[in-house]
């Protein structure tokens, strides 16, 4: 299909705002009289507050109030009111609700003062007495308490098939290994923050860092009893989130509480340390057992996962189902259970479930390949799944074979000597490893609105978010394409709860979900314009059908004869219209549901390891991604590059270390919690493998926010084995584990 804008490497439409400092994030709305809230975090992991002494803090001139559970007003009572679009089953955490301490560093007070520094100082003067209960934060010690969590919406429960136990017992080649990984924190560069601007009539404008303005609006209205007309949530720019902003974070609750009670405009920003006090990727333990024929044909797969959740909610993610999906096998046993720990509820972090599940599965596949003595790619091709055996459906498209092939070619995989420790330069061991990746191509329902004005400018909107992924840009491209307008004449608006209904931004579903709604609303405008164009006296399009015209260069043109054309502006003028406004809703169709819809990838890595020091450097990565149609290669490449680098972090660096004596996360800053820095990143190449997929959704795009990270940790772990002959099955692979 010929396109003008879709598929082109257009620079981000919000680029200028971001390089000049004009883009404003949640903590950057200043009004006279704004006051500042600083959160006090609990010092213990479990127990209750016996006493809070705020007198000293309140004595400071300029300190307005210290909110605690003792003076917090009566708010909504039911759990339902505190739930949200992404909440797992359970009883959501309510800030300042009572004196109970449910996890270490939970918010226990909000100090509000005229300046940030004063609030900060006053917060240090709040004295809190606690009564401690014994806590449990160590997943490995609590594994036998694992239970089946209540199912979560959109997360299919693992289903077994055949008889894996028997097939495994009978298999000639058997492999059974355990894998584990710690808590990770999203750590977007922008800390969570909210600025509540209070208008004179008491209405609140809530600038919040979130991935879902309407999700936050619903939550706040339910909790505080505001009508939607009186509380609007805005989030035009978000400094990264990776899933951390899917659910309302406690600072938005506290900021609104303070604004409501004090009748002031209030800002509450979390400190970096407090970025470790809410959602996180759960710690996990996994066991994978593979039974195979001597040639590597899989006969049994067992994949069991035990992850943590909080005492108050049942968080679960799709960890093990991938093992029933990625390879052909008739005997599959899957289970995913959770253990309640005294930590905050985990949440979705970039490719939730798949990052852990594919780490275990793809390491195990590498171990099996080595055991049966065949190339890891050959093993995967031998067991290639042509159909989704979990769901019993065909794939809408699956170019994973091409990912293996093209990635291997680019990487030079054919030159790999399969023997571990076979490549070295001096005392530097070199290892090559690969793994596959998969992520679901979700499509859910969203609405969009479009207004075309008589000057030929189009404004399209939906209440979604752009957390850096490029939503503003690709939606602008889709709309410009549909109406044949230059990019400059199209504006896309998002991040405002008063716009058309949209789900939270996440799950890699925004391109397909909001994109389909944008397409649908533009189709309505096209129809209207075409009718107007045909009605013009002597219209050159009088005898043409909508199917036989193109919208290009601001004109409606006949397919067959491009001289037969009417400009959009002309059509509107003749119709006497100053604007055309349309709304549309789009969601998945029953035809789409007949297919299994997934994005796939193959990741190849080269590591160099100093044999004496155990230091690991990832020198090369090739990621080959098949994710349907690529709407914008420039933003797409950036997404995948960034995700691969986050995967390097998962493999080698990231760990929220808990001191179990205190039940407290100790690596709660960016000096101790290591996110990849530029010295960790060397040569990375991204290949997009063509997929023409008309069945997946109306746009043919599968989404790219997550697929890039899946499989990276396994590919690196496998390269580490190839370099050293050591299997490190516990992430992150740090030098102490290697030496």
């Amino acid at each position: 299909m010929r396109t003008e804008h879709i598929g082109k490497p257009i620079s981000r439409v919000d680029g200028r705002a971001k390089v000049t400092g004009a883009a404003k994030y949640a903590a950057e709305y200043n009004v006279p009289g704004l006051v500042y809230g600083v959160v006090v975090s609990s010092a213990i992991a479990k127990g209750r507050i016996t006493r809070i002494d705020v007198a000293e803090a309140l004595r400071l001139p300029g300190v307005l109030q210290v909110f605690t559970h003792e003076n917090s007003p009566l708010l909504a009572q039911s759990d339902n009111s505190y739930s949200d679009e992404v909440a797992p089953p359970g009883s959501p955490f309510r800030p300042l609700h009572d004196g109970e301490i449910r996890y270490s560093a939970q918010p226990v007070a909000l100090v509000v003062a005229d300046t940030f520094e004063l609030a900060h100082y006053a917060a240090s003067l709040v004295r809190i007495g606690y009564e401690r209960d014994a806590h449990a934060t160590n997943l490995n010690e609590e594994r036998e308490r694992a239970y089946q969590p209540r199912p979560r919406e959109f997360i299919p429960p693992p289903e077994s098939r055949g008889n894996a136990e028997k097939a495994f017992a009978e298999a000639i080649v058997r492999l059974e290994e355990e894998y584990s990984a710690p808590i990770e924190h999203h750590n977007p560069m922008e800390p969570f923050a909210t600025t509540v601007l209070r208008e004179e009539n008491g209405r609140l404008l809530v600038y919040d860092k979130t991935q879902g303005v309407q999700n936050v609006q619903n939550y706040l209205c339910n909790v505080f009893g505001y009508s939607k007309g009186d509380l609007r949530v805005l989030s035009p720019f978000v400094g990264g989130a990776f899933g951390a902003g899917l659910r309302p974070v406690y600072q938005v609750f506290l900021a609104v509480l303070a604004a409501r009670e004090l009748k002031r405009s209030v800002r509450v920003s979390l400190m970096r340390q407090q970025m470790f006090t809410f959602t996180h990727r759960p710690a996990i333990w996994q066991r994978v057992a593979l039974g195979a024929a001597p040639d590597g044909t899989l006969e049994a797969i067992t994949h069991k996962a035990i992850a943590e959740t909080s005492q108050f909610e049942d968080y679960s993610e799709t960890v093990v189902n991938w093992s029933g999906l990625l390879y052909r096998c008739d005997n599959v046993e899957l289970s995913h259970t959770v253990v309640k720990l005294d930590l905050h509820t985990p949440g979705d972090m970039r490719a939730p479930g798949a990052v852990w599940g594919l780490h275990a599965l793809e390491c195990a596949m590498d171990e099996l390949a080595f055991k049966v003595g065949i190339d890891p790619i050959e093993l995967r091709l031998k067991n290639y799944a042509e159909r989704d055996q979990n769901e019993g459906k065909p794939f809408s498209s699956k170019e994973l074979r091409a990912c293996y092939r093209l990635g291997a070619e680019k990487f030079g995989w054919a030159r790999r000597n399969p023997q571990p420790r076979s490549m070295r330069e001096g005392n530097v061991l070199i290892g090559w490893g690969m793994a596959g990746g998969v992520w679901e191509a979700f499509h859910i329902t969203a609405d969009a609105k479009a207004t075309l004005t008589a000057d030929g400018r189009l404004t399209v909107s939906s209440a979604t978010a752009d957390i850096g992924t490029g939503t503003y840009t690709i939606m602008t491209q889709i709309a410009a394409e549909m109406l044949g307008l230059p990019i400059e004449d199209v504006t896309f608006k998002l991040g405002d709860s008063s716009l058309s209904k949209s789900p939270v931004e996440g799950g890699s579903f925004t391109a397909s979900t909001v994109g389909s709604a944008v397409k649908a609303v533009c189709e309505k405008i096209r129809k209207k314009l075409f009718q107007l164009a045909r009605k013009i006296d002597g219209s050159p399009l009088a005898n043409t059908k909508l199917d036989n015209v193109r919208f290009v260069d601001g004109q409606i043109r006949s397919h067959n004869d491009s001289s037969r054309a009417v400009s959009l502006i002309e059509a509107m003028r003749h119709g006497g219209l100053s604007a055309i406004e349309e709304k549309a809703s789009a969601g998945p169709t029953p035809e789409q549901m007949q297919y299994s819809r997934f994005a796939h990838s193959a990741v190849f890595t080269e590591v160099r390891i100093d044999e004496d020091l155990g230091t690991i450097r990832v020198m090369r990565v090739v990621g080959a991604v098949a994710a349907g149609r690529i709407l914008n290669p420039k933003t797409a490449r950036s997404q995948v590059l960034g995700a691969i680098v986050m995967g390097i972090g998962t493999a080698l660096e990231e760990e929220s270390v808990i001191d179990h004596t205190f039940g407290r996360i100790m690596t709660h800053n960016l000096a101790d919690y290591h996110v990849p820095v530029n010295a960790d990143v060397h040569d990375i190449e991204v290949i997009f493998v063509q997929e023409q997929d008309e069945a997946v959704n109306p746009l043919g795009a599968k989404g790219l926010g997550e697929i890039g990270i899946v499989g990276v940790a396994a590919a690196i772990a496998n390269a580490v084995f190839h370099a050293t002959g050591k299997r490190i099955r516990d992430l992150p692979i740090t030098l102490d584990k290697l030496l």
Partner: protein, 160 residues
């Protein structure tokens, strides 16, 4: 007790009354409304708050406002010349070196300080210059490319 400071910010003289515990970052963001300098950690770990102080990049969260008295500060808001973007800003947009944009002002100013000193840096020099700036979104590669590209554009010209 507040102290009066006078300094130059983005070429303009500025006077302010600040508490001695106010950081330069807070002064810029809260008092002057120059929110292009970001607060990412407040601990000197992330570089999001980078501004140029007398020609050198600094983490403005680690500088007290009173320490900037009498000195010259450049923030991201002052980098474009009458609406014309600096070549580094252009290159960040063109190369696709931005995602969420939260690290971008700090990265760009670190790069600017480097190119002022050494207009044709090697890749290693670039990586060293931005080694104090974290980015969680882009994976750095495009940022390095953007700075290399900007250095190319600036070739033969005086880098302002």
């Amino acid at each position: 007790m507040k102290r009066i400071i006078t300094l130059t910010v983005n070429g303009e003289p500025v006077e302010g009354a600040v508490e001695p515990n106010r950081t330069l970052l807070s002064f810029l963001r809260e008092d002057l409304g120059l929110t292009g300098a970001k607060h990412g950690c407040g601990l000197g770990d992330c570089g999001a708050c980078t501004v140029i102080l007398d020609g050198k990049p600094v983490n403005s969260c680690l500088v007290l406002a009173v320490q900037a008295d009498g000195r010259e500060v450049l923030t991201i808001e002052g980098l474009a010349d009458n609406g014309k973007l600096h070549p580094i800003q252009e290159a960040f947009i063109e190369t696709g070196a931005i995602q969420c944009g939260f690290c971008s002002p700090g990265m760009i100013l670190s790069a600017k300080a480097l190119l002022d000193e050494s207009p044709k840096p090697t890749e290693t020099e670039i990586r060293t210059a931005i080694s104090g700036n974290l980015c969680r979104c882009t994976g750095y590669q495009k940022i390095v490319e953007a700075i290399l590209a900007a250095a190319g554009t600036a070739q033969g010209k005086e880098v302002s």
